[in-house]
C-alpha cells in the first residue's frame, strides 16, 4: 500500500486531499500544516509520496522549497506531487529539473475532479510524472506562436501534449483510442520531427518535451 504525507495549511483542503487519496487506495500516514512539519513528517515516516501545497507557512512558496528539499534529500525514494494555484510552467520545470522521476505539478482546482488528483498521485507514486494539462497547454500555445509546431499534425500535437503531461504510452493510447504500438510509433515520429532524442525513461521524456516547448518563449533568457 502506498504511504502518503499530505501538507496544506488549510484543514478543509487537507481533508479533501486525504479523502481522495484514501479513496484511491493510499494510506495517509501523516498530515502537515507547514513546511517545517512536512519536512519532519517526511524524515520520520519516509513515505512513498508527499502531496504538498506550494504556498505554506512560514510564507511565500515554502511548499515548493520544501518539495525541492525533499527531492534533494531522498531522491526518487520519496515522490512529490505539488498542488498549486499558480499556472506557472516555471515551477513545474523546476520540479522536473530536481531529479529523476516521481514528481508532479497540479493545479489545486483539480481537486474538483477526484479522478484527476488520484490519477496524478498514482502516477507520481509509481515514479512517473504528472504535469497539469493547463500548464502544458500554456507552453504549447506559447510555442505555437513561434509557429514551429506547425510541422506537427493536430493529432500529433495532441499526443505531444499528453506526453508532456507525463502520461504513459498506454494511458495515451487509451485516451486517443489507439493501440499502444501506434502511439509508440507516433511519438517516435513527433520526436524526430522536433529533433528530440527519445529517452525510454518516462520523466526524462516529459522534461525534454517541456523544455522544448518552453524554448519558444524563454529562448534568450539567462
Amino acid at each position: 500500500m502506498i504511504r502518503a504525507v499530505v501538507a496544506d495549511d488549510s484543514a478543509v483542503i487537507r481533508s479533501g486531499v486525504v479523502r481522495i487519496l484514501e479513496d484511491a487506495g493510499m494510506r495517509v500516514v501523516r498530515e502537515a500544516r507547514s513546511a517545517a512539519e512536512l519536512i519532519a513528517a517526511v524524515d520520520e515516516e519516509q513515505p512513498d509520496l508527499a502531496v504538498v501545497d506550494i504556498r505554506m507557512p512560514p510564507g511565500g512558496n515554502a511548499g515548493l522549497t520544501a518539495a525541492l528539499e525533499i527531492r534533494a534529500r531522498y531522491g526518487d525514494r520519496v515522490r512529490v506531487l505539488v498542488l498549486s494555484q499558480y499556472l506557472e510552467p516555471e515551477y513545474a520545470l523546476r520540479l522536473l529539473g530536481s531529479g529523476a522521476g516521481g514528481v508532479g505539478y497540479l493545479l489545486k482546482d483539480r481537486l474538483g475532479e477526484a479522478s484527476e488528483l488520484a490519477d496524478a498521485a498514482l502516477r507520481v507514486a509509481a515514479g512517473g510524472s504528472a504535469i497539469d494539462p493547463a500548464v502544458v497547454d500554456e507552453l504549447v500555445s506559447a510555442r505555437r506562436m513561434t509557429d514551429r509546431l506547425g510541422r506537427l499534425t493536430d493529432r500529433e500535437r495532441e499526443t505531444l501534449e499528453l506526453v508532456a503531461q507525463g502520461r504513459s504510452n498506454r494511458s495515451i493510447a487509451e485516451e486517443l483510442h489507439l493501440s499502444a504500438k501506434t502511439v509508440e510509433g507516433a511519438i517516435g515520429i513527433i520526436f524526430s520531427k522536433l529533433g528530440l532524442e527519445e529517452d525510454a525513461r518516462d520523466n526524462r521524456r516529459v522534461l525534454a518535451v517541456l523544455a522544448y516547448l518552453d524554448g519558444g518563449a524563454a529562448g534568450g533568457a539567462d
Binding site: S10, I13, R55, Q85, E90, E138, A142, A217, A218, A221
Partner: protein
C-alpha cells in the same frame, strides 16, 4: 541727494544713528548761508575789495555745500558738521576791514580755526573721531590755537607796533610786546609743526594704506595734505614775521600778491577733494552690473564672494552664511566661521529673511565712506541670496515630493502584493474548498441515484466554478505575479511572454534581484507594451530586452506591428510614463505608422 538704500542691512541699521540729517542739517545749513550773506553784506558795506569778497564768499559756500552733502550722506560721522564748521570759521577774520574794533579784534584773535576743523576732519577719516596719534595732533592744534587766540586778544595792541592811528584793542589787559611776540611766535611755530605733522599723516596714509582705502579716500587725503601744508606755511609766516618783522618770502610784486591769493584759494582743496571723492564713488557702482549679470543661475558661494569683491573693490570681503546643519556660520569655502562684531576692524552687514539670517558680509570698514555703493551691492546680493534660499527651498520641497512619490510607489507595490496574497489565501482557497464540496455532492448525487436534472445542474455549477477559479487566477496574476517575487524579473517576463498572444523572445543579462518596486515597475511596463503589441498593433512577434546597466535598468520592447502608438492618445502608455517617472525613470516610444513599435524605458537603480 542720496537715493534711498533698499533693504538697509541689519548690521548697518544697528549702528548709532548719529546726528539726524533732516531738521538739524537744514537748520545748520540755513544758518550758515544766512551768516555768509551777512558777512558779504558787511564786507560790501565796509568797502572791502570785491576780489577778496568774491573768493572769501566762494570758499565759505563751497564748504557749506560740501558739508551739506557729507552730512546727508553719512549723518553718523562728523565729516558733514566739520565741513559746515569750516565754512563758518572761514568767515571769522573776514571782518578786518569793517572798522568795528570789537569785531575786528575778535576776528583777528579767532581766525584760522578752520585749520583745526580740517585737521580733525582728515585725521578722523574714516572714523567718527580721530584716535591715537590723530587725537593728540588734533588736541595739540586746538591748544595752540587757543593759546594764540588768548595772546592776541589780551596781550596785543596795535600801538605796541607803532600804529598810533589804529583802533585800540578793547579787550587788552596788559600790553607786553615781548610776551606777545614770544607767545605768538611759539603758538604759530607749534601750529606750523602740528599742521605739517597732519599733512605727513595724510601722505603716509596715502602711501601705506590698503588699496581699497586709497581708492576711496585719495582725493580727500591729497586735499588734506595740500590744505595742511598751506596752514603750516601760514603759521610759519606768522611766527617768522612776528619774531623778525620781515616777511618769510620776499617776493617781488606781482608774485607776492599772486602767491597769497593762491595760498588763500588752497583752502578750497578740502571741500573740492571731498566732492570729487563722493562723485567718483557714485560712479564706482559700475561693477554692480557685473555682479547682477553673474547671478544668472545660482552661483556658488565662492563665485558670489568674488563677484562681491569685484563690486565693492574690496578683495578681502568675506561672504558668510548660516550653517544649515547647525547653529554656526560657514565661510564661502564651507569652513566653520565666526561673524565678527561690526566695529573699527570690520564692517558687517547682515542679510535676513523674516528675521532668519541668510548671509553676513564682512568688508573693509573704509567702505562705510561709500554707503550708496554698499547699499546697492547689498541689494543685488540680497537678490542672489534670496534667490538661492528660494532655490534651496524649492529643492527641499522637490526632494520631499520625490521621496513621498517613491514611498507611494513602494506602498502601492506592497499593496498589490498584499491583495494578491489575500486573494490566494482567501477567495482562491475558498473556491477550491467549494470545488471539493461540490465534487462530494456530485458523488453523493450519483450514489443516491438523484434525478438526472440535479446531476446536470451540479455539473453546470462545477463548470461555472471552474471558470470563476480561472478568472480569479488571472486576476491575481495580473495584480501581482507570485513568480516575480519568487523568481525575479527575467523569469516573470518570460512567463508573461508565453501568455502575450504574440511570439515573444526575451533577451536578458540581468543576473541579480532588484528592489521589488523596480522589478514590479519593469514587469508592468513590459506587460503594457506586450498588451499593446498584440491587442492594438496586431504584431506577431516581439523582442523584450532587459539590460542591466549597473546604475540603471534598460528595457526595450520591439514589435513588428502596425506602429502609430501615441502616448497622448491611450491611457495605457501615458499611465506607463507616469509609473516610470515615479521611480525617476523615463519612457521613449518610437512608433512610426507601419513600422512597428519600439518602446524603451530606463529606470535608475539604487
Amino acid at each position: 541727494m542720496e537715493s534711498p538704500v533698499p533693504a538697509l542691512p541689519a548690521a548697518t541699521r544697528a549702528r548709532p544713528a548719529g546726528v539726524r540729517p533732516s531738521r538739524t542739517l537744514l537748520a545748520a545749513t540755513a544758518g550758515a548761508l544766512a551768516f555768509t550773506v551777512l558777512t558779504l553784506a558787511v564786507g560790501v558795506a565796509s568797502g572791502a575789495p570785491p576780489e577778496f569778497l568774491l573768493l572769501d564768499t566762494t570758499i565759505g559756500l563751497v564748504y557749506i555745500g560740501a558739508g551739506f552733502v557729507a552730512w546727508m550722506r553719512r549723518p553718523e560721522v562728523l565729516t558733514g558738521p566739520l565741513l559746515l564748521a569750516c565754512g563758518l570759521l572761514n568767515f571769522v577774520g573776514s571782518y578786518g576791514p569793517t572798522g568795528q574794533p570789537v569785531v575786528t579784534y575778535l576776528g583777528f584773535a579767532f581766525e584760522g580755526y578752520y585749520d583745526v576743523a580740517l585737521a580733525v576732519l582728515v585725521l578722523a577719516l574714516p572714523e567718527r573721531l580721530p584716535t591715537g596719534l590723530g587725537r593728540w595732533l588734533s588736541v595739540g592744534m586746538l591748544a595752540a590755537f587757543v593759546v594764540r587766540s588768548a595772546s592776541r586778544l589780551v596781550l596785543q595792541d596795535p600801538a605796541m607796533f607803532g600804529c598810533g592811528d589804529c583802533t585800540p584793542n578793547p579787550f587788552v589787559i596788559t600790553t607786553d610786546p615781548a610776551a606777545f611776540v614770544t607767545v605768538e611766535t611759539a603758538a604759530n611755530a607749534a601750529i606750523c609743526i602740528l599742521a605739517l605733522a597732519v599733512a605727513l599723516v595724510c601722505v603716509r596714509r596715502l602711501v601705506a594704506s590698503r588699496p581699497i582705502v586709497r581708492r576711496v579716500m585719495w582725493p580727500i587725503l591729497v586735499a588734506g595734505t595740500v590744505a595742511m601744508s598751506a596752514a603750516a606755511f601760514d603759521a610759519a609766516e606768522y611766527a617768522f614775521t612776528t619774531a623778525t618783522g620781515a616777511p618769510l618770502l620776499d617776493l617781488p610784486e606781482p608774485w607776492s600778491g599772486a602767491f597769497y591769493w593762491v595760498l588763500f584759494a588752497l583752502r578750497l582743496f578740502v571741500p573740492i577733494g571731498f566732492m570729487v571723492g563722493t562723485l567718483r564713488l557714485r560712479r564706482a557702482g559700475g561693477p554692480l552690473v557685473a555682479l547682477a549679470v553673474g547671478l544668472g543661475s545660482v552661483p556658488s558661494p565662492v563665485r558670489l564672494q568674488s563677484a562681491l569683491a569685484a563690486a565693492l573693490g574690496d578683495p578681502g570681503v568675506r561672504l558668510l552664511r548660516p550653517d544649515r546643519k547647525g547653529p554656526g556660520w560657514l565661510s564661502a569655502d564651507g569652513d566653520p566661521a565666526r561673524v565678527p562684531v561690526d566695529d573699527r576692524e570690520h564692517a558687517v552687514t547682515l542679510l535676513d529673511h523674516d528675521g532668519e539670517p541668510l548671509a553676513a558680509i564682512v568688508y573693509d570698514p573704509v567702505l562705510r565712506e561709500d554707503p550708496a555703493l554698499v547699499g546697492s551691492v547689498m541689494a543685488v546680493l540680497r537678490l542672489a541670496v534670496e534667490n538661492e534660499r528660494l532655490d534651496a527651498e524649492l529643492q527641499a520641497r522637490l526632494d520631499d515630493v520625490r521621496a513621498s512619490r517613491a514611498r507611494l510607489v513602494v506602498a502601492a507595490e506592497e499593496e498589490r502584493r498584499r491583495v494578491e496574497r489575500d486573494l490566494h489565501d482567501g477567495a482562491q482557497q475558498r473556491l477550491v474548498a467549494v470545488t471539493i464540496a461540490l465534487q462530494q455532492a456530485r458523488q453523493a448525487a450519483i450514489a443516491t441515484d438523484a434525478a438526472p436534472e440535479i446531476r446536470e445542474r451540479l455539473a453546470a455549477v462545477a463548470e461555472e466554478l471552474q471558470a470563476a477559479i480561472d478568472d480569479l487566477r488571472e486576476l491575481a496574476r495580473g495584480i501581482h505575479p507570485a513568480l516575480l517575487e519568487d523568481a525575479g524579473l527575467p523569469a516573470a517576463v518570460t512567463a508573461l511572454g508565453r501568455r502575450a498572444g504574440v511570439a515573444v523572445e526575451v533577451r536578458s543579462d540581468l543576473g541579480r534581484r532588484l528592489p521589488r518596486h523596480i522589478e514590479a515597475t519593469a514587469y508592468f511596463t513590459v506587460a503594457e507594451a506586450l498588451t499593446n503589441a498584440s491587442r492594438h498593433a496586431n504584431a506577431t512577434r516581439a523582442i523584450v530586452t532587459i539590460r542591466d546597466g549597473g546604475d540603471r535598468l534598460e528595457l526595450r520592447v520591439e514589435d513588428d506591428g502596425a506602429g502609430g502608438a501615441d502616448p497622448s492618445l491611450g491611457t495605457g502608455l501615458s499611465g506607463l510614463a507616469d509609473r516610470l517617472a515615479a521611480v525617476d525613470g523615463h519612457l521613449d516610444i518610437a512608433s512610426p505608422a507601419g513600422g512597428g513599435t519600439m518602446l524603451r524605458a530606463e529606470v535608475p537603480l539604487p
